[in-house]
Subunit: 218 residues, 2 copies
């Protein structure tokens, strides 16, 4: 697997101690996220759209309808940015100024290409389902030929990427430690509720472990 080489575009100028170009760190964040935010420019106007995705080795894959203007432009090789952000906590400092958020994020720059090969396309769609709900692709009906044809799959190489991580307690000014105000971190996480069966679910269909045991995050 190729190393991730820092470029001028992915080097953190502000708070560089929060930045990382290590593949392990980047992959762990991509693997935990559920939704990415895809940025592209059209006639000078940037757009940011939330999308599902998956990591397949050193590529990130996206999918959508072949008629989508966004996906068409990206598949034609327009520059793209894919950002994944995980919220870990609210950082409450003694001063308003030092309030912050604990988070882990990845910014991936590059160009996408359309995945044409049918087997590769199937693998990518399977990866997206597995990314969101591990084990689910063994339960659900796989895509038909027609469905495969009606889906555009894009891949972005994970080469020019960087991670940014803020963790730990607030960093207050020395003199503010005397203030009577509570300070610390309120942890945040994504939690699941009780599964809601489809109104047309056949009575007696058990909730599978992929759903009943679903857990995301650390």
């Amino acid at each position: 697997m190729k190393p991730i080489v820092p470029t001028l575009r992915t080097t953190h100028r502000r708070l560089p101690d929060r930045g990382s170009h290590e593949r392990d760190v980047i992959e762990a964040i991509l693997d935990e996220g559920l939704v990415c935010h895809v940025g592209f420019a059209h006639e000078g106007q940037p757009y940011v759209i939330p999308m599902s995705y998956a990591r397949m080795g050193d590529r990130l894959v996206l999918h959508g309808a072949p008629g989508s203007r966004l996906l068409q432009e990206l598949g034609a090789g327009a520059p793209v940015c894919v950002t994944v952000t995980l919220l870990d906590g609210l950082v409450l400092a003694r001063s308003a100024m030092h309030h912050s958020v604990n988070y882990r994020s990845v910014v991936l720059l590059g160009r996408a290409s359309a995945v044409q090969d049918e087997a590769e396309k199937r693998a990518a769609l399977r990866a997206i389902v597995e990314h969101v709900v591990p084990g689910r692709s063994a339960e659900a009906r796989p895509p038909s030929e027609a469905e495969l044809g009606a889906t555009l799959v894009l891949a972005v190489p994970i080469e020019e990427a960087s991670a940014k991580v803020r963790a730990g307690p607030p960093k207050d000014d020395e003199e503010d430690h005397a203030l009577p105000c509570w300070a610390g971190v309120l942890p945040l996480s994504l939690s699941t509720g009780t599964p809601v069966p489809d109104p047309r679910l056949r009575p007696g269909t058990p909730v599978p472990l992929t759903v009943a045991g679903y857990r995301r995050g650390r």
Copy 2:
């Protein structure tokens, strides 16, 4: 308050029944989100950066360091896109193809301007703290003159914006309802853990209600 007028750029061509330009819908999503994804283009390359924000009436405010390249370009009037996404659930269909995500998102297009007026700047910073932790600005030390000078505040008018919402059960193909596979929605929400006091917190400082009673979402 000005109405939000749909433009060609904010009209949903795909799945238009999921789209909305109603100010109430847009504001509710903006008010619930904790982090926005800010998109801008630099030398043809799009970038998407997660940031804190707040809504102040019909403007969205952002803040950061005056040395930030991103904020400088945006403050100079470069086109920007601000996207806020809330995840409500995983939609598990009987076919891989119809798997989806229940979400609410807002895409805001426009141009930012730097907030120069000191009172307005103070109000914007207060709004950001209040947006993240309601009530917190009464507990924490407000920004000093120096801190105010060291913060750049940007405002984006909420005029060209649209919301997109997916809710409800999966939409399977008619013939797939005979499959034995479980189908339904796994609800997702942001939950809080036990507050972690700052290691230097003065012993006996109680956890305030703003933190102990913190709740986000519906």
